[in-house]
């Protein structure tokens, strides 16, 4: 049973990782948001399964919270935002896709190697997931680096948060409740502030290309 569950969790983990890759390669903001939503969904599912296996009710709560936040609220906000700012098309990335993919693969291997010693002695049902979570974090990081517009950067930031959540749930059956709440609050506030910012940036520079934000420098 738990064996099956473990496989299930590993499956979700794989899905999340795959979505992260998809995000890197994806160019259209709209579909980026969709991918992000899916990732959130997968995360929710994973959390729920873990909760079911380990009989930990507070994981259900956390799953619900995540659902609200990452599957409903944030995607909604993002959709609103891009409609208001009408930035649907985002073609330019700083590095072309294949290269990015290669780097991504290297990162995944690196992450797995890092997590290996830990996974080996991790008592939790799906030890391998930590490596995947780490890989997600690194991939989202990469995405933030290579995207030259504000919105994708933010999405990268959020998916990084997803990776973290996944690590928290899969590796440790979730953080203590109070922490979870705090984190969720922070994320929410953060995304709100980011939204406000993007409007302001937009009205200042009438573009969301963060290459406008390169005035402050040493030279």
């Amino acid at each position: 049973m738990s064996h099956f569950a473990a496989q299930l969790i590993n499956l979700f983990a794989a899905v999340i990782l795959m979505l992260a890759f998809a995000m890197i390669s994806q160019r259209r903001i709209l579909s980026l948001i969709h991918l992000y939503t899916m990732q959130g969904a997968a995360l929710v599912a994973a959390t729920a399964v873990v909760g079911y296996v380990t009989h930990q009710p507070h994981l259900y709560v956390s799953a619900g919270l995540t659902f609200l936040l990452k599957v409903v609220l944030i995607p909604l906000l993002l959709h609103r935002m891009i409609e208001r700012l009408d930035v649907r098309w985002d073609v330019e990335a700083l590095i072309n896709v294949p290269t990015t993919m290669l780097i991504g693969i290297v990162l995944v291997i690196f992450a797995f190697n890092l997590a290996l010693p830990i996974s080996r002695l991790s008592a939790s049902i799906a030890g391998g997931t930590l490596g995947i979570a780490l890989a997600c974090v690194l991939l989202s990081f990469l995405m933030m680096i290579i995207r030259s517009k504000a919105v994708p950067q933010v999405i990268g930031f959020l998916s990084m948060e997803n990776g973290l959540f996944f690590a928290a749930t899969s590796a440790t059956y979730g953080m203590p409740m109070v922490v979870e709440l705090g984190i969720a609050l922070d994320v929410l506030v953060g995304i709100l502030i980011l939204g406000v910012f993007m409007f302001q940036i937009r009205e200042r520079f009438d573009s969301l290309d963060i290459r406008h934000l390169e005035k402050l420098k040493e030279s």
């Binding site: 830990i118 002695l121 780490l134 990081f141 953080m175 409740m177 705090g182 910012f197 302001q200 390169e214």
Partner: protein, 484 residues
Amino acid sequence: MIPLLFVLGVPLLGSLVLAFTGHRGFARDINVGFSLATFLAACALTVVVISKGPLLALNEEFFIDPLNVFLVALTAFVGLTTSIFSRPYMRVEQDHGKMTPARLRLYHSMYQLFSFTMLAALTTNNMGILWVAMEAATLTTVLLVSVYRTAASLEAAWKYFILCGVGIALALFGTVLLYMAAEKILGAEGGALLWTHLASVKTRLDPNIITLSFAFLFIGYGTKVGLVPLHNWLPDAHAEGPTPVSAVLSGLLLNVAMYALLRCKVLTDGALNNALASQLLMGFGLVSVVVAAFFLSRQKDVKRMFAYSSIEHMGLIAFAFGLGGPIANFAGLLHMTVHSLTKSAIFFTVGHATQKAGTQVMSEIRGLIKVSPTVGWGMILGSLAILGMPPFGVFASEFLILTTAMREQPWATPFLLLALGVAFASVFSRVLPMVFGETSVRPLPHAPALLPVFVHLGLGLMLGLYVPPYLVGWYWQAARMLGG
């Protein structure tokens, strides 16, 4: 217990109140009032801790020991003086039309919220909450930095947000790993993230996980500390925000981040009995000192320059804690104190100076001493103090750090010598003409609040010549707790 509630409650309440009344004329005074109340509460808390020893409260969610109680007191104090300083400053900004009522509301309310988050971060016993508070502090300061809504301030705030957000996220990963390591021993109940519990079992934590987790925590909180090369947000954020914010950023937030780092270092040292944490701190500290010194030598904007000086000093502090040993730890704590006092004092004078001159470009600020001698003397003395001139306190800690390093890590001293020399040359060559010589600046309608400046400098001077015994007690206990 009760004072603790006040320490945390007063600023929270203040932020609520000011969120509505922050634009009124009396808001400035309310701001000061709340800060004063916080400071008094902090003093009470300090007294309690000194008399009764470390304090656990609210089913162990909060923990006050010598290490953080003096930071709490310091934070409350600088918060108070900064609020005093910001009264005339904000009035002038209003006159110049840079602050609309809405922004004033935001500013005042966020100012209180910011001090709340810092105090929470300092007093909490829960590594998770510590992370939450740090993130919250980031968010509030992002709003404070961007309060002018100018292009530059937006850019600065954006960079600040993204870089620190990412950094903090990594710190969260580290925290998760820490929890993962802890729950094997402490069980999945809430206790597993409480620092006191962790510290009690730190030797049994799994080294592999802790190593990985410290790496992430180091990068995460190190970003907030402003260690090179994670520092890039810092000069922008300092230079573009309102000066009171620069003062608290340099004087307090960096300290809090360093505090978080120290808490993690203690656990890590306990878990893996090797010098990993120390080496990381020492290496990054040294790099920060040197690089920041060279950055200093090419600054044109006064606030930016002193921001880099903050990076340099944070590097020095990190180096000191990396050195370890009772003397170096003591020196590091002392340096945290005097740096935040002196640096905030400098920012006060800089704030007045820039308002007088109407620019932050140093080459256009001349002969302050002629227009208002007090500001001029404040700036020159402050700069000399921050550059490590006795008898100011910064020198005391630098003395201890350098002399210890000379025998512990001789290889590092040439770099320190070089860096300190370059820093002195750069900063002093710019401050001197700003203060002396023929003047270009005009007096202001509102008298500047220079009491904070000279109180801070006076305290810095005192710490250079005479450290009160109870303070010494704190420092020594704290140093011991850091595993001296």
